[in-house]
Symmetry: C2
Subunit: 600 residues, 2 copies
């Protein structure tokens, strides 16, 4: 069973992502180290003891559509209410509407725990947080006053309605219509697919944020507006009025996250209300909906990255526990010494076998790396809001740069580590009751939604590398080089070749970055995009090496030996791949272009 | 829907794996090119038109245990009978018992097609083929005469009973007991798990080959004997007698291959028969059961490798078809020219996007590479039986060397390519109805069973590299170098950097091989085993590069341009990874040993 790695999470927040420095600099108000510890420790308890036990039923029973109503898995409604009662839904919510206004780093850290316990369950609150952010950033004061408090308390939940059958990655292709009404409201007509928690029975109302197109709107992404469309209309006094003209038409039958209802939503077909049309209110300005949606999407992308970290953590815990118990064969003596742990049968716990140990340490290293990247991204988001002027701008860019890496690298890690977790279990890994397979099934969506990982890679190359004409990414690489130099200066044997390996990976990163910026400047977009995915992977691996080293250097206490050993393993076993990735970025496009003859 | 790539399969058999040369040399009796074509083409038709359509019901309905009987998915029993009536079950079976005695290459090629259509369905016949091989190699004449004909016709099926809860990879730990009886038979008592097609309703009888231990047997693998234990006892005249004392206790609830019943089998608990004990007949000699089982296992390992190839092929076909139809966004102009294929909407088919094209070409290259490796292994098996003296010994070693690579590399490719296939589908990939997710679920078992891929890597390093004191592997690498030289000599621009890239990968392979042989000779087993998995991957990638080049050089006809383009893509995008893999083999062990502190 999952046990939240509270210490590791706290350490990474403090010493790798920058929480301690931000606290010391007064950037995070009156937040104290003690409060951080209390929050993490209580969240860890709740995630492990309350949420995780209800994950299997979510998977086997799933969300069901019964007579037009979406029914949650047994126990989930009570779980959701207890979770809200614990104040978790409002952790980062605005204080004026009952939230605790805590930094995003704490949101991300607790999101990791909830998602390790159950991605399907956590998706609901994740979408609600996004809706709150969008309303606070772009909604009118009256919309905020009517909706935000109950979203913060969790009495109501939120959704994000972008996708339509013909409009996925290309959101500009959407066709859902919005018509203006004389009273300032709008009527929404159309079909949305893949709407997470689009309907359910855990909250009294559901506040849909829906992208739609006005009749006179320009084509493409410049003609999209965002609307708030509640399931139940809300009276002046905040009480619930009649049902709005929208409903969940069907649920998807998915590979994983079965407990999370993935809905096809129909707006405005006349099933409810006096005349057809779901009543909506404009959020932000007409035709500026995409900008509003990006507010939700950026944080949602990081939240999805956390699903990757969370799966990797849960899978690693499960695999290590199994590998300690399961005995098979006799492990070879390591380094000449007889193996210490050998069962009476003469068989060794499989954790003693080098190949199994390689899988487990790889899982640990990738998990920690992905975690550090995501937390660093959250830290940058926090400081982009809480610092001023140039510093705020810097962190805004840093967050923008890190977001696609956090989303795509961490979700790829989630899938890879979950798959390794199955492998460690052998035949048991393929049996559903073990739970290892569920982790892979649940994790497999994360590289797809909130912008496929291919889209993230394109975003990184096309929009993020050019920030400040490349100064942001170059400055970042320079920071990372300081870590490599500090490892070299530390003169600790345990680091092995870490300094030189990390330095070589950063050379690869810099060379690939320069090439991509140059090719784009020269207008060779297809060439640059051909290397986008390998480049993102290269960036993620180099960051993994650097952040593990940063943590190892920061730990002067009992954990140092372990951190140094993990960092060395990553440096000497994992990040050497950056050379091949750089090669793919710089030399791979020509052969890919030639190979298009195979796809004609 | 799956369409068997008959031409590609035939080409790979002939020009990459060596079928044409073997035919020309008269090594394959009176087999003709025409017969090969006829078999492949009819198998392709049957796989695509008859088997593939019944794959989804196998997945959704699954095999069910109802009142003690295992019921096949709707339509599967008729499908199985039609498949047997087509003669497919006896393709390589011994001619004296009604088989066609064809080379193993044809078995493997058709196995690919059946598995692309449905792994769950194909598992039944795959096990039967293994049982036939074991009985022909080790069974007494009377056992052969009583059982083989009906196994060849498919009226009866076969199983392989190795695993017990405490004995998986470590088969020597098994506890199932066998007791001698005065009449020369044995009584079997025990529990076996993960028994594929252990019970079902598609055939009249099921012939279990069961590993068990005699009371006076030595401990470990030297005390294991193999027994034939039929579900129904067989009378002198071949008719079926009473039920033997064995039954299927339960079916596993698995991630995939739902149509294939994975049974827990109970032997000898007294449910059937006059006294407890399942009646069995010794196959081979007492305490020599493991050698008999290896006969089944080696071919079964290659057959599992084919599941990887088959999944990769099916996933690639499905992804390409989707990527041609699905439009999203506007693809960049490739090489300065405007994209040719753009839908009227202004959106491009996603196949035009570089990142999607990269995924698809990667899928194609890995699929072809894995296919060539497996077919080459089958060719070596054929010649080990059909050549003489030194040549037979050489091919026996070649088959032994290639088997773990075929099994592990191909099944890893199956999982990776199936996962890429999901990614190409975007959100649709996560929806079960699309079928892309099923391919991943079905494929995920293949790296586990028949010896986990970790076990394959150990086998490769510990048992296969030392064959002929390393001369076998060194000779193989020398052969592969000739391919690189032939590419260089061909002077065709289309190959790009193929020659130098391939040559560099072979340098990596040679260096890693030398290091592993040396370290083992020095007794540093744990160090060598630490690099086993990266080494196997390195070998598989280098072979992929070499075999794609061999195919490209051999194709003087219309396919040459495509083969050269694919080969170049593999050389310039995929096999550069061998440098990092070599590094992991040679330098990775020290940091892995140090990182064991994390697992304590």
């Amino acid at each position: 069973m999952y046990k939240a790695p509270v210490e590791e999470i706290a350490f990474t927040l403090r010493h790798v992502a920058g929480l301690s420095a931000a606290l010391a600099n007064g950037r995070l108000g009156d937040l104290s180290e003690d409060l951080v510890d209390a929050i993490l420790s209580e969240a860890g308890r709740f995630a492990g003891e309350e949420v995780a036990p209800l994950s299997p039923i979510g998977d086997t029973q799933g969300a069901r559509l019964v007579e037009g109503k979406v029914i949650s898995p047994d126990g989930w409604v009570d779980l959701y209410k207890a979770w809200c009662a614990g104040g978790w839904n409002g952790l980062t919510g605005p204080e004026e509407f009952g939230g605790q206004g805590l930094p995003h780093m704490l949101n991300v850290a607790t999101l990791e725990m909830w998602n390790s316990a159950s991605i399907g369950f956590t998706l609901g609150p994740t979408l609600t947080i996004g809706a709150i952010e969008a309303l606070m950033a772009h909604g009118s004061r009256s919309l905020q006053e009517r909706y935000v408090e109950k979203l913060v308390s969790g009495e109501w939940t939120g959704t994000m309605n972008l996708t339509e059958p013909q409009a996925g990655s290309d959101v500009g292709a959407l066709k859902t219509r919005a018509e203006r009404r004389a009273d300032g409201t709008y009527r929404i007509f159309g079909q949305k697919i893949y709407i997470t928690w689009g309907d359910h029975d855990a909250a009294d109302n559901i506040i849909h944020l829906v992208l739609a197109r006005l009749p006179d709107a320009p084509a493409g992404t410049r003609g999209i507006s965002l609307f708030l469309v509640p399931k139940f209309l809300v009276n002046e006094d905040g009480s619930l009025g009649p049902r709005n003209d929208l409903f969940c038409h069907s649920l998807e039958h998915k590979l994983g996250i079965h407990g999370s209802p993935t809905c096809t939503m129909i707006y405005g077909d006349g099933r409810f209300g006096e005349e057809p049309g779901a009543i909506g209110w404009l959020v932000g300005e007409e035709n500026k909906g995409l900008a509003c949606m990006f507010t939700m999407m950026n944080n949602a992308r990081l939240a999805v990255g956390m699903q990757g970290v969370a799966t990797a953590e849960a899978a690693t815990q499960k695999a290590i526990a199994y590998a300690r118990e399961r005995t098979q064969g006799r492990a070879p003596a390591w380094g000449g010494a007889a193996s210490s742990a050998q069962a009476a049968s003469g068989m060794s716990p499989i954790i003693e076998h080098p190949d199994v140990a390689r899988m487990l340490v790889t899982m640990k290293a990738l998990t920690q790396g992905a975690r550090a990247i995501c937390y660093a991204c959250a830290h940058a988001i926090d400081l982009s809001h809480r610092a001023d002027g140039e510093e705020a701008r810097h962190f805004q860019e840093r967050a923008a740069l890190l977001t696609p890496i956090a989303k795509a690298f961490a979700t790829d890690v989630g899938v890879d580590v979950a798959s390794l977790g199955i492998q460690v279990h052998g035949g048991m890994g393929f049996i559903e009751e073990t739970g290892a397979a569920r982790l892979l099934r649940d994790a497999r969506i994360a590289p797809i939604y909130e912008g496929t990982n291919g889209i993230q890679a394109i975003d990184l190359v096309v929009r993020k590398l050019p920030l400040s004409t490349g100064a942001q990414v170059r400055g970042f690489i320079a920071e990372l080089r300081q870590v490599a130099e500090a490892v070299a200066a530390s003169n600790r044997d345990g680091f092995g070749e870490t300094a030189s390996r990390l330095s070589a990976s950063l050379d690869d990163l810099e060379a690939a970055t320069d090439w991509l910026l140059t090719r784009q400047a020269e207008g060779a977009l297809a060439e640059a995009l051909s290397g986008a995915t390998p480049y993102l992977r290269l960036f993620g691996l180099a960051l993994t090496g650097a952040y593990l080293a940063k943590g190892a250097l920061a730990d002067a206490a009992h954990g140092a030996e372990q951190r140094i050993a993990l960092c060395r393993f990553a440096a000497e076993n994992l990040i050497a791949e950056t050379a091949a990735l750089k090669d793919r970025v710089i030399h791979g496009a020509a052969s890919l272009a030639a190979a298009r003859v195979l796809l004609a």
